[in-house]
Amino acid sequence: MGVKTIEEKKLHFVDPSWQSDLSGAYRAMTSIKDAQSLLHTPAGCQLYVYALQSMQDFYYGMTGTTALAERDIVFGGEEKLQQALTKSLEVFNPKMIGIIGSTASRLIGDDIKGIKNLVQNQAGTDIPILSIDTSSVEGDHISGYNLVLDALVETVMKPAKNKLPRTVNIFGIQEDAPNGRADFFEVTHLLQELGIKVHVPFLCDNSTQQISKAPEASLNIVLSDNLGLSAARLMKQKFDIPYLTLDYPIGITNTTRFLKEIATYFDVKEQIVDTLVEKEMQLVYRVLAEGNFYLDDFPGVRAAIISDSMMALAFARMLKEDLAIDPALVCMVTCGKDSVARLEAMEQELGLDVMFLKKPNYIHIRKALEETRPNLVLGGILEKFTMEQVGLLEMGGIFMSIPTFPSAWGVHTFPRPFVGFKGFVNILETLMNELIRFGFPPQSSFRKMNFIEGY
């Protein structure tokens, strides 16, 4: 492999940077506004994710847990699940229910599918009830998210009577990640400018009915090499909808490429794309002019990115191509099948010198930060703490919160997306405002690195 990796000693413990499949499935279900998630778990599992979501840009709450107790572990929790499902129909009147399994329910061997069928027959309800086979024992949050998306394709979507021309479904954005909803809006806006309508944004403010009609779209766009890819493949197989896998449109280069590839697919004139790019770039020029003092500091700055693969790849390209910042460390908390190959290709193409970690332990993240000593770290709250622990903040290193769940830092709500040209303005402003916090001229490591030998 081209990219350097840190020497990872085989350990029998981890300090994990990824979340469980249960967590991902729960988050996916709670992004559907008229669906209820029912966790077949002990009480704590539900509140953990709920607590994290309630502190981010998220507000749906139709959830419940069977709160498995000792007796259920001994005698089985099927009866309780049956009661909970029946009561769910009465209390929430949901349009869809997703039953999410846990370590406990997996180990005691509860037949979730059987109970689901039983309740559906007894209650005579035709609402879709998904059985999401999560366990926390295998997988990560993206695989949990994918399990829900796949189940939606299998259970909720109906074959389209009519295909809607120039419409797309979007996969790959996490609504409850910082600015996730704003990213959906921005992608929708950009596509609209090309005359393309977003039919179903998966998963953002969706209704069950909207999801059922997703096969009407003429194309699926997957902004990830992992999240939503299996659902897009399933839709291709089941409903014959083609899909495009594109980079997350972060930064000028990624966004322009995103627009051009879609324009090519839909036969939109090149001139229309160029006009749109120039129109959107006006705001970028303004921020570049206003903050031109700081631009001197960017070339040669070393950055670390710790996030899911799609985000890590997109930010790496944006930093190098748009800001001349070197991605020195890339940690992919979750990975797609081709993520590593794509990073290697990018390294070749852009001449990067990257240290790479796949699904890393925090021990290794810490060690890698100590070795690479980046001036800029993009990640979540845990990365900020790790920066602090290794002394990077004290040395004037800058932290920037990016769309990663559950560890956001601060409040991130519409209308400050990360994607598109507006997203680039947001990123630039954040960086420049972080720099100015150190005074004028900035005393951060961005400046120090230009003067202090050996840093």
Binding site: L11, H12, F13, V14, D15, P16, S17, Q19, S20, S23, K33, T41, P42, A43, G44, C45, L47, Y48, V49, Y50, L52, S54, M55, Y59, G61, M62, T63, G64, T65, T66, A67, L68, A69, E70, D72, I73, K80, A84, K87, S88, E90, V91, F92, N93, S102, T103, A104, L107, I108, S135, S136, V137, E138, Y362, I363, I381, L382, F385, P406, S407
Partner: protein
């Protein structure tokens, strides 16, 4: 309107309280039985004790954590102590993410939360060997003073023997090992995990001491405010009064004091509990093993419970009349400070849902401020909570209040409560804020995180009154609260069925 009590009148009250405290404290030393669901009036709550089988709500949407959460929470507050989760990676990751985020707000330190990350093979073949290797590696890598090995759902179900493993490895590592059995399904109460964690400290870490320090106490169960924050914390407020009384804190367990200090905890003359739900286990073990006496008071929130808390300690340490005079002065000053708040809060109705330990103390406080209880929710009830409930029940009866009581309420049930009862303010924990907003009820968060100052002790009482007034008068809550979140948790049909039945 009640006026501040005159000193003589107050002394009589103290006399009354002293005898009441003695009686109630003995009752509180009961078993740790956790009761199930209840819906009714407070005078009838005791009926759940007599049930042959406890009622359980099969569909819960609750502010309840699990025992492992409680154990991790206490574990990370002890310096250079590493919690090692023997379970799945996802379980440990949620602990870490929650504590990073919640802890950041609450000034908590962030520690690594390593895990054995049990996979399918471990579930199938057992993970004891993996755990042994992990313990040795964690010891080598982090060089901690102690590793708290926390058993969670996965390892509990397959029956890995964490205690035995810790026992066999004691001579092979350079730190202490603390096995804690905290499977998530073993309770719906994080307090049980905290209780087990502290009891494990007494059983495995503490050592018999030759000397007992006069007028010294161990302060048990405080976790917040360990890192520097720009306001006084709960433990600082308690220490302030202890200083006035001439009481020395021998050990904070958990929190701030390192493992080597915890070893010497039996030097204290007395164990003092911030909240019985989390600390009765350690008190019992220390009493039996080292003879350390303890007082079983309620959470020192509000004037009366705080007074009871300090009087019980004064009595147990035999500090005498001078110490009581300090308390009388504190009470007098607090009543004076509360008076402006009372004038504005009097007659306002309140709903309250928190963990059982502090529910009664808080309800008592808001009644003292002239507010009217319409709904009291207990996240859970333990047997040792009943004496406090009886006292509160008596008080309600005397003042003519008859609020609705729910034990283990789910959010959707509380929505029905708000629709029927329309309280002026809802005192709650952090996740329940959204329930209140959705129904146009201003929430006041009185558990979990604080930015204003202490909630405990006399000064905490004033902070709570201030907070109640802030919530009621907050223009944002009033104007936009209902619009901040779309829809409700429960369906309209559920909320409106038997409309007004809880009014």
């Amino acid at each position: 309107m009640n006026k501040a009590k005159e000193p003589e009148e107050m002394t009589n009250k103290l006399e009354e309280r002293r005898s009441a405290i003695k009686r109630v404290m003995e009752d509180r030393k009961g078993r740790d039985v956790e009761y199930g669901r209840f819906c009714g009036k407070i005078k009838d709550v005791h009926c759940i004790i007599d049930r042959e089988e406890q009622e359980e709500n099969p569909l819960q949407l609750v502010e309840r954590m699990c025992p492992a959460y409680g154990a991790v929470r206490y574990s990370i507050t002890i310096p250079n102590n590493i919690p090692l989760i023997h379970g799945t990676a996802g379980c440990a990751a949620l602990h870490k993410a929650n504590w990073a985020k919640l802890g950041a707000y609450a000034g908590m330190p962030l520690w690594p939360i390593p895990t054995t990350a049990m996979g399918p093979d471990d579930i199938f073949f057992g993970a004891e060997d993996k755990l042994k290797k992990a313990i040795v590696e964690v010891d080598q890598y982090y060089k901690p003073d102690m590793i708290s090995v926390i058993k969670t759902c996965g390892s509990a179900i397959i029956g890995d023997n964490v205690t035995e493993i810790c026992h066999t490895l004691r001579d092979k590592v350079n730190c202490r090992l603390l096995p804690v059995d905290c499977a998530g399904f073993s309770s719906r109460n994080q307090g049980m995990g905290q209780d087990r964690y502290l009891a494990a400290l007494a059983e495995n870490v503490m050592e018999k001491q030759d000397e007992i320090i006069p007028n010294s106490v161990n302060y048990l169960g405080e976790t917040y405010g360990l890192a520097p924050v720009p306001f006084p914390t709960d433990s600082q407020e308690i220490k302030r009064v202890f200083d006035l009384l001439g009481i020395k804190i021998n050990c904070y367990i958990p929190g701030r004091d390192p493992v080597e200090k915890i070893v010497t905890a039996p030097k204290a003359s007395l164990n003092v509990q911030r909240c019985m739900n989390s600390t009765m286990g350690i008190c019992r073990v220390m009493k039996e093993k080292f003879g350390t006496p303890y007082v079983a008071t309620c959470v020192p929130i509000g004037i009366d419970p705080t007074t009871e808390f300090f009087l019980a300690i004064i009595e147990a340490l035999g500090l005498g009349r001078d110490a009581e005079a300090v308390i009388e002065k504190e009470v007098k000053e607090t009543r004076k400070a509360l008076e402006p708040f009372r004038q504005q809060l009097e007659g306002k109705t309140f709903a309250l849902t928190v963990a059982s330990g502090r529910t009664t103390s808080l309800a008592n406080l808001f009644i003292e401020l002239g507010m009217i209880p319409v709904y009291i929710g207990f996240h859970f009830i333990l047997e040792k909570t009943f004496p406090n409930i009886e006292i509160l029940s008596e008080k309600f009866k005397r003042q003519g209040y008859d609020p609705l009581v729910l034990v283990e309420p789910s959010f959707y049930e509380e929505e029905k409560v708000f629709a029927d009862l329309k309280p002026d303010v809802f005192f709650c924990d952090f996740a329940e804020r959204q329930v209140a907003f959705r129904h146009g009820v201003p929430p006041s968060q009185i558990m979990g995180l604080t930015w204003l100052g202490p909630w405990l002790g006399y000064r905490g009482t004033v902070v709570l009154a201030h907070q109640a007034l802030n919530a009621i008068n907050n223009p944002i809550f009033k104007r936009f609260g209902r619009k901040m979140y779309p829809g409700t948790y429960a369906s309209e049909a559920f909320i409106n069925q038997k409309k007004g039945e809880w009014a």
